[in-house]
């Protein structure tokens, strides 16, 4: 829950500048104009810095990044998964 809350706050501060409106956790960032396409880089930077995620180009899809729900799922699954040992 904390991750989701933190993501939500980031989206509200960073993309909506406090204009929360009735932002739903499953609202599409792209369809609702919440994140413009150049803004996705900010989201990626945040995920990498805040949660230490290492994201490959193949991860960077709307399926993974296009709503608070989706991003929360991505972060949770990555944090839960054991680090690959090579």
């Amino acid at each position: 829950m904390q991750i989701r809350q933190e993501l939500r706050q980031f989206v509200i501060d960073n993309f909506l500048f406090g204009r929360e409106g009735d932002l739903k956790d499953d609202a599409s960032f792209l369809e609702n104009g919440i994140i413009d396409s150049t803004g996705v880089l900010e989201l990626i930077a945040f995920l990498e810095e805040r949660f230490g995620l290492e994201l490959a180009e193949t991860d960077l899809t709307p399926e993974n990044l296009d709503s608070i729900d989706k991003v929360a799922r991505l972060v949770e699954s990555r944090l839960a998964a054991p680090k690959e040992v090579t």
Binding site: F17, R19, G33, D36, L41, A45, L60
Partner: protein, 655 residues
């Protein structure tokens, strides 16, 4: 090149005889050499002169020999020599060697249709005392500005809005629809301006005020005929024809009784124009450029290479972020409209460099990208059309990577997001297929509009207004040509030639001349097949062929880089601190009423934090600060001088 203004009483009553002088005093920067006023009972003209042709004659406002016509004129008629010869053959006698007088004689000869014979850049008014008629006209592409407004009794016109505001009866109020347009297209749609009830005469239009009635009509319009006979010719023949036209367009633009210099940006267009001028003048040209610290924007290496290749005496002004910050309030004073980019500011600094070197006239490469097919938006349109024909192709969208190589914000995007940005609507592409991704991105900056602005706008949509202005023939053109039309008809006069062009040059009494905007060149280009503008994905294909050998190979083959300048980050510089603190304060944002204070504070905080910012954030911050500056200076009448009277620090490097 000058500033003009005037007033005519709509009821035939006398005007305030002091008003023309008060109006012209607001735009003396446009014409520091002389000032003239003509007052009849019901009409008055003002004129601020920048003397370029017939320095000792050519005083304005100018009457004809019978003193039945009076003209106040800003601009140049480049074919005045040929017209004079023709008119002399018809029996006209000339008192001066000035292009101004040619307009008067031509008007006597052909009346309102005289403008169809002019090749030039103009805004003028003629008072016909016999018919008690005021005739106004603006050049085909909108190089020179002409604004007007009505009060209950008078119609007033001027080169700049600030001259109209000299009349106490003219209200100072922001037009919310115009604001919405600027936060969508970067420009207002003529006849709108940022101010309510203040209008601009659209490019290619004339206007008559007679017996209290106002009539406005187009005398020229842009027409595309890509299947014309012209396109049947061989590439070589077309390149020869274009070269001959451009040479002539440049030749007549070198007509002046003062020396003519050139802007040299390091790109294809200005280098080509300079090369043509060099062929024609036979002496060493002086060229001018602006360079930046940030390699993302700087074109210094190409500029030096072009200057060395063409053997010009080159002057460069280096512009740092703090310079942009320092001049920005004054830039807005001249631009008279909100802008979403700081790009006009370095051009303001550049025109000062020109003026400091004793030059009044420069040739530039403006207009080539619009007419010859240079901008990436045309490439974008072509790729998206290609993709739309196979919407499920996985290969075609890969071409999107070829777009905007100079923009990191686009280049670093994951592929899926790149595709989403340029996404295609398979069902109905609509009339704005080419520009929708760009406009929708810009319009996101409207997030910061206040509740009052949003409710004032209601269901208004700037794109609907534009759709209503489109000519019927627009729908018959391919998307590529539609994109060209939108750029040439709206962004070019509404932003490029005004905010970046006329207003920045005239701030320091410098006149720009644009061979690519010679109407013969524009009409030639509009009849070219699209493949001559963009072959596969090579932009300005025919022009490049035409320029071969005349410009350095490196400039010829370099990737297209449109002129850009550092944006939002400039406002973190010390020179901006005072006015940014004041204008972005919660109190000031609230009082001026256009934006929501909380979100604006958060936006500025984000920019200040050094976190990555998006294209939208960049545009929003520049747009908000410039809108605040417009309100501060024009509505509240507080001068930019209250913050920072220093002129831009100019470092001139002589090569």
């Amino acid at each position: 090149m000058c500033g003009i203004c005037g007033v005519v009483n709509l009821k035939g009553a006398p005007i305030d005889p002091d008003l023309p002088a008060q109006m012209i005093s607001q735009i003396r920067h446009r014409g520091p050499d002389e000032v003239g006023v003509y007052v009849d009972s019901q009409v008055g003209f003002g004129h601020a002169r920048l003397s370029i042709i017939d320095l000792s004659g050519g005083h304005q406002p100018m009457p004809d020999s019978q003193r039945s016509l009076w003209i106040t004129f800003n601009g140049e008629i480049f074919n005045y020599v040929e017209l004079t010869e023709e008119l002399i053959r018809k029996g006209h006698q000339f008192a001066t060697h000035c292009d101004t007088e040619v307009i008067l004689h031509l008007y006597q000869e052909e009346g309102e249709r005289c403008v169809e014979r002019l090749n030039g850049q103009w805004a003028f008014a003629i008072w016909d005392t016999t018919q008690q008629k005021l005739f106004l006209s603006r050049d085909r592409l909108g190089v020179r500005p002409l604004f007007y407004t009505q009060t209950p009794d008078n119609l007033l016109f001027a080169s700049e809005i600030k001259a109209l505001l000299a009349c106490p009866e003219v209200k100072r109020e922001i037009d919310l629809h115009a604001l919405d347009q600027i936060f969508t297209f970067w420009a207002t749609l003529a006849p709108r301006t940022p101010f309510k009830n203040i209008w601009q005469l659209p490019p290619g239009h004339s206007m008559v005020v007679e017996r209290g009635q106002v009539r406005v009509w187009p005398y020229w319009h842009l027409e595309y005929a890509p299947d014309s006979e012209l396109g049947q010719g061989s590439e070589e023949k077309l390149a020869d024809e274009l070269l001959a036209l451009m040479l002539d367009a440049t030749r007549i633009r070198l007509r002046a009784d003062v020396p003519v210099g050139a802007y040299l940006s390091g790109g294809l267009d200005s280098t080509f124009v300079t090369a043509l001028a060099k062929k024609l003048v036979g002496h060493r040209l002086k060229t001018f450029s602006v360079s930046f610290d940030d390699p993302q924007f700087d074109e210094g290496a190409y500029q030096r290479e072009a200057a060395a290749f063409l053997g010009t005496e080159h002057y460069d002004v280096h512009c740092v972020n703090d310079d942009i910050a320092r001049v920005f309030p004054e830039v807005i004073w001249h631009a008279e409209q909100p802008i979403l980019r700081t790009a006009p500011a370095p051009l303001f600094v550049l025109s000062k460099l020109v003026r400091d070197n004793g030059f009044k006239v420069v040739l530039t490469g403006e207009g080539s990208d619009e007419t010859m097919g240079g901008y990436d938006i045309f490439k974008e349109t072509k790729i998206r059309c290609f993709w739309q024909r196979e919407p499920h192709s996985t290969k075609r969208p890969l071409l999107l990577r070829r777009l905007y190589p100079y923009m990191d914000g686009i280049q670093q995007q994951p592929s899926a997001y790149l595709e989403s940005f340029f996404r295609i609507d398979e069902q109905s592409p609509g009339p704005f297929f080419s520009h929708l991704p760009r406009w929708q991105l810009t319009a996101r900056a409207k997030l910061f509009f206040s509740a009052a602005v949003k409710s004032g706008l209601g269901a208004y949509n700037a794109m609907d207004e534009l759709q209503g202005l489109l000519p019927e023939r627009y729908n018959s053109w391919e998307a590529f040509l539609q994109a060209q039309f939108l750029e040439t008809n709206y962004l070019l006069p509404g932003y490029i030639l005004s905010s970046q062009g006329d207003r920045m040059a005239m701030a320091h009494a410098v006149e720009g001349r644009f061979p690519f905007l010679d109407y013969r060149v524009v009409e030639f280009a509009s009849k070219l097949p699209i493949r001559m503008k963009m072959k596969v994905l090579q932009e300005k294909y025919l022009l490049k062929r035409c320029a071969e050998g005349l410009i350095p190979r490196s400039v010829q083959s370099r990737p297209k880089q449109p002129y850009r300048a550092p944006d939002a980050l400039c406002f973190l510089e010390p020179a901006a601190r005072e006015y940014v603190d004041e204008l972005l304060s919660s109190d000031c944002i609230g009082r001026y009423g256009m934006f929501e204070p909380g979100p604006v504070a958060k936006l500025f905080e984000k920019v200040r934090s050094g976190r990555p910012i998006s294209v939208r954030d960049n545009m929003a911050l520049v747009g908000i600060i410039s809108t605040q500056l417009v309100i501060h200076q024009f509505v509240n009448q507080v001068s930019w001088r209250s913050w920072n009277a220093d002129q831009a620090r100019v470092e001139t490097v002589r090569h």
